[in-house]
Subunit: 742 residues, 2 copies
């Protein structure tokens, strides 16, 4: 049973906040500066022109405030969404152009909302753990408030007192109460949903001078969530273990690591950044004493940088955890975020090149500053660097490691699970060549907001396929996902960073996973090495496992593109069956397989414009399987992508792979260059729990040796190993060198 | 047994051609003009700089003229290919910069060739019907000569007489003889192979002043092909039925229709255009009395225009017949062709925008002229128009119809078979939205020049899949390809154009196929119609058949992208089997199927950024099948693309479809717009051999009527039909109108 708590509203507390408008994202001073610069700053002027066209078209089409009915993708949902985007834009246009038609448009629309809102019960769709009134979930109601409060702020002083009073008391205060005190299971979490809720309530509080709302927003509600609401629709826990605080400041404390990494991953970080930053902007203007932008050493600005670094060359976010591929730095949230980071974070000229690519700026002080600097030619290319981004509020709960060298970007994940949106992907990786996926992370099984696809929400294949370990480039043991596919278990521990280093010629990330499978220790080490003989850095991949004899291993590799050739002969199937019944295997067709012959497995594929080859050190009894996603997919919710699985039954063991990016080919000139790998062999010279030593040979006869100490990462410690007749000595965790001929 | 014919070489005939150099692609006068303009014409200067970088790098790397050994994609093949490209470029650089290092590079390389060539027998690879010496097939030997003769022309006057004599007698004359009189089955055909042979032999003849070679090139050999060589490697006939002539002029007479369409399709036309144009340029300079550029009303220039019109918005050629997708106006052949068309074809400013997109120009008079005009800002957008391009030397053997409206491009094929490279695709179509494929033509199963893939040649799946009717968007009867999959039978007849018209609001192409299946008449009518209620033109597709009762029809649709939803419930398979044993069905997996319920079939898919919906008028007993390419494909030679097949068993029948392009969605903003079709119903109001009448209704209530007279296309004839209680009267073959409410 839900318990409704009656709250006494103390209107007298309003007086505590200074009452001048606009002051959320625009200030009176900022508006003057914008007006003085109009017509002189191309990127700003273009954005104004674009926004004006959009809003004018909406004004011409007329206002529509329908009774809520549909899910995401449906008419009423998309209409209300469009309404709040347009009101926000109209508000800004009113401020900077002074044209009253924009204020009138907002006022008329708000009055319609004020008429409609009090008549509404909960939204008719019942699938959310926190049903909204305007939309099917409070989350979208909060989105509406975050944008609409900005519009309201822009016309507040222009409105007559009677209208203000009506809107405050009949629309906004009840609206804010509904998504806070009436739905604490939504408002009082540590979760992106609550960030939106906190921001919306706080922002309208700032506009109305309602200190109580601002307090709820900043510090959360002193109120228990009804006991029967324990999970959200994605299976995420409402109440985090040991969670004591709530509200915006608690979100800031818990949602980000000190490196600015957000545990749900960049897709959701992007989504959450907007309310974080836009509310922070309002707080910076109205409650400067909070010092919100300096909070936790300027965490909010650092978080923008962390986001920028989690992208490929096209600015698309790494699609780890639940993430729709293609979301990028070009999104509306990042248009606001990057200009804010520029304006409030020290005017870094390398941010300007990203803003230039975005092609538009927010219509406020920060957007104007960025556009002006770009017009002056101050933009510099963004310098992407290799980095480890720690996870966990204190930065001690795993991390992701990002290695960059030439056009290659490699990301390995050994972070926390990522709450309800996490995937069972410990020690998984992805690899890009510029903007091209080489080894893909599947992302989520979802078409966001597209009504055809189950209303635009998560599809059931998101759980049955996309979250499972076999859907990722990581080791699967005994056909079961990490943590037996249980979010609660996965949430209890994180991956364990072991070693991270980036120099120009060799960059290494190494991490352990000790909890995904009981009694089994896994460690993955990936290195990007530059050597003279080949055109691109090579990727060394060592997956070392300590496990009982008879363990069945599957190591998948989701290569992107068309298979060119292999040194193995595959037996292709004439009839396809699903590879299993659960843990994601039920979605894989087995297209072909082979019992590997010899000590090397090699496969070359082509994608977009380049060739790629994986060379693996294998052993008698290993199998290679060629797979295709798409079995048990009644609604065509999955992409028919290819995969390669190396299968082995063993105890302690080591999987060693080398990936080479080579050559090129264009369909317009049809001249292949360097279409074959330069690597002739990959050999394991030593494997034990403590050490791995690997060598690889090139076709020109050169040979290289790579060694890692797996349990002692001290920089100063010396290691000695006897490798056949050779004595190998080195200092520090990793050794890499060209071998000289004896 | 092959019969070798001994030819008496008459050196005295040399005197007939004026001896001045350069004169193939450059003239002394042209060179002066280029030199005078250097540094002032950006696109030209950039091209010079790029070419210089390439050639300088090759000079620095040193000359390598290896003994021929490999197939396409292998080292010796690619090295010799690189050599001739570089010599040609070095020759041009020598002429326009005067720097001797370029001439020396060519001389040294040619002397190595002169040493090597006399030692060579036939190339060791035995798979060609006309084995070359430098390469595995004479075709590539001819490529070498076409490019190398240009280089030789550029340094001819700079060489000493002794070197010239050595090269003429020890390298070039024997080389030319080998690919002509020693391989008449290669040289004396009407085929793109012979075009290269004719051009190479003719061009080196022009350079050396060897009139005999020029005569062979222009008029062919008076020599019989050995009787045991009747087909080439692609199954094409060496001797066309009734072929009396050979040589370059005969190619011009037979290879193109009077509209400039080339029966093998644009992919091969692009390939053949280079020798056609480059030899023509030499002939225009050295034998102006031939008037080669005016031949057949300026056919060569017209052919360039026909090529440009067979592309999508990215300049990529329609991949009909054997064609690797992605080949485009950016290819080296078109870089030469479009500038030539500009220079010799009346300086059409709309060609300049294409040259601008190419980003480089040929380094000769025509390239200079184009680059200068572009620098002056004379470029205008190319105006793509709807057009019918007839096939056959006389233009009376079928055609392709191209309809363009807004961003849509529709192409229907009812031409000749296309010789050895033809596909069994009568009445097939493809549809683009800008550069995006909406309904694809598969193209060829081949990775051109990529050694991994069977040496870069045609793969066996090209015959077993790509050429078969089921691989195309056209009707397949009783699971057998058109003409029973036999090239000879297909070559005997062409499709029959019925009606073509393009006005702004309704464009129609209609054609018949009377020979593909014995005793069966097929007619397809496709229309692009613009109506006020929807954002894009609609495509109406009527496939009408007259056939015996009990005929089994399969009508495939190779939609590109991700299936969104359907109004039918498909039963998805849990085990996949190939759909048949032959005619291409062995390569299709059946993923799901349904016995269609109701009178309308509807399916929506999403591709790149837009939504697409097909609405079909169906009947009781029809089935819909969802297919996936890739069965029986042991080497992963086929793409795993999706298809939809509507299956029906009937006698005379009509398939009616409507395709709508609607809405948009971007992954960076996640706001779907107009993701559902506006079409609510499609109904057949009348079907008979003579008439089809169709109506479709929109969700807003509007209704439209389309009618066609299928056997009387006279513009002035009147038609009357009783449709229920309505009397329908119209004039001319087609009627289209909005229906008014009674």
């Amino acid at each position: 049973m839900r318990i409704l708590i009656v709250i006494l509203i103390s209107l007298s507390s309003c007086a505590a906040i200074a009452q001048d408008h606009p002051s959320l994202i625009l200030t009176a001073e900022g508006v003057k500066s914008v007006q003085a610069n109009m017509g002189q700053v191309p990127l700003f002027d273009q954005t104004v022109a674009t926004v004006r066209t959009q809003v004018d078209a909406e004004i011409a089409a007329g206002i529509d405030v329908p009774v809520p009915k549909d899910l995401a993708g449906g008419y009423t949902h998309e209409r209300h969404k469009q309404n709040f985007f347009m009101m926000q834009k109209a508000g800004v246009l009113f401020q900077i152009t002074g044209e009253e038609k924009y204020a009138i448009y907002i006022r008329e629309m708000l009055l319609e909302y004020a008429d409609l809102y009090p008549t509404l019960g909960k939204h008719p769709a019942e699938r959310s753990y926190a049903r909204g009134k305007m939309f099917w979930q409070c989350l979208n109601d909060a989105n509406w408030l975050v944008y609409t409060s900005q519009a309201y702020d822009c016309i507040y002083d222009w409105l007559d007192a009677k209208t203000v009073k009506k809107l405050n008391t009949e629309l906004f205060r009840p609206y804010a109460e509904y998504i806070s005190v009436e739905n604490p299971q939504f408002f009082n979490r540590i979760h992106n949903h609550s960030t939106w809720g906190n921001a919306g309530v706080g922002m309208i509080g700032l506009v109305m001078g309602d200190a109580e709302l601002v307090n709820w927003a900043l510090y959360g509600l002193d109120q228990q969530v009804p006991g029967d609401i324990v999970k959200d629709n994605d299976g995420g826990a409402i109440q985090l273990k040991g969670q004591k605080e709530a509200g915006f400041l608690a979100q800031l404390d818990h949602a980000f690591s000190s490196d600015g990494y957000y545990t749900e991953g960049p897709y959701y970080q992007r989504y959450a950044m907007y309310p974080f930053l836009i509310f922070a902007q309002g707080l910076a203007n109205k409650k400067p004493e909070l010092g919100i932008l300096d909070y936790r050493n300027g965490l909010l600005i650092k978080a923008v940088d962390a986001l920028i670094n989690q992208t490929n060359a096209a600015g698309e976010f790494f699609p780890i955890n639940d993430a729709q591929k293609g979301m990028s730095l070009g999104s509306r949230e990042l248009v606001n975020a990057v200009s804010m980071a520029y304006f409030y974070g020290g005017n870094a000229p390398q941010l300007l090149s990203i803003i230039e690519n975005q092609g538009r700026v927010p219509l406020n002080d920060s957007g104007l500053a960025a556009a002006k600097a770009i017009a002056k030619g101050e933009a510099r290319p963004y310098q992407y660097k290799s980095m480890e981004l720690t996870d966990g509020a204190k930065g001690d709960e795993g991390a992701i490691g990002i290695l960059r060298s030439k056009d290659l970007t490699l990301m390995m994940k050994y972070a926390k699970h990522g709450m309800g949106h996490g995937h069972f992907d410990r020690l998984g990786f992805l690899l890009y060549n510029g903007a091209d996926e080489v080894i893909q992370d599947y992302g989520s099984a979802r078409w966001v907001n597209i009504e055809h696809k189950d209303g635009g929400g998560y599809l059931k294949e998101n759980t049955s396929w996309a979250k499972q370990s076999i859907a990722h480039n990581t080791l699967v043991i005994d056909k079961d996902s990490h943590f037996d596919g249980k979010v609660n278990k996965a949430e209890e521990s994180s991956g364990t960073p072991y070693f991270f280093s980036s120099s120009d010629n060799i960059q290494v990330v190494s991490a352990k996973e000790l909890n995904a499978y009981e009694g089994i220790q896994m460690q993955r080490t990936m290195a990007l090495v530059k050597i003279d003989e080949v055109e691109n850095p090579l990727v060394i991949d060592l997956f070392s496992v300590q496990a009982p004899e008879g363990t069945r291993y599957d190591l998948p590799l989701y290569y992107m593109g068309e298979l060119m050739s292999s040194n193995q002969e595959f037996q292709m199937r004439n009839d396809l069956s699903p590879m299993g019944k659960e843990s994601g295997y039920q979605h894989l067709w087995l297209e072909g397989q082979t019992a590997i012959k010899g000590k090397s497995f090699r496969m070359t594929w082509f994608n977009q414009k380049n060739f790629y080859t994986v060379t693996s050190a294998v052993r008698e009894g290993d199998e290679a399987l060629l797979t295709r996603i798409g079995a048990n997919d009644p609604n065509f919710n999955l992409r028919r992508d290819a995969g390669l699985i190396v299968r082995r039954t063993d105890g302690n063991t080591l999987f060693a792979n080398l990936y080479e990016t080579h050559g090129r080919y264009s369909y317009a000139d049809e001249i292949p260059v360097n279409s074959f790998t330069s690597v002739s062999e990959l050999s394991i010279l030593h494997e034990s729990a403590d050490y791995v030593v690997l060598s690889f040979e090139l076709k020109n006869g050169s040979s290289y040796l790579f060694a890692i100490s797996q349990n002692d990462a001290a920089e100063s410690h010396k290691h000695k190993l006897q490798i056949g007749s050779e004595k190998l000595e080195w200092t520090g965790p990793v050794y890499f060198s060209k071998r000289t001929n004896d």
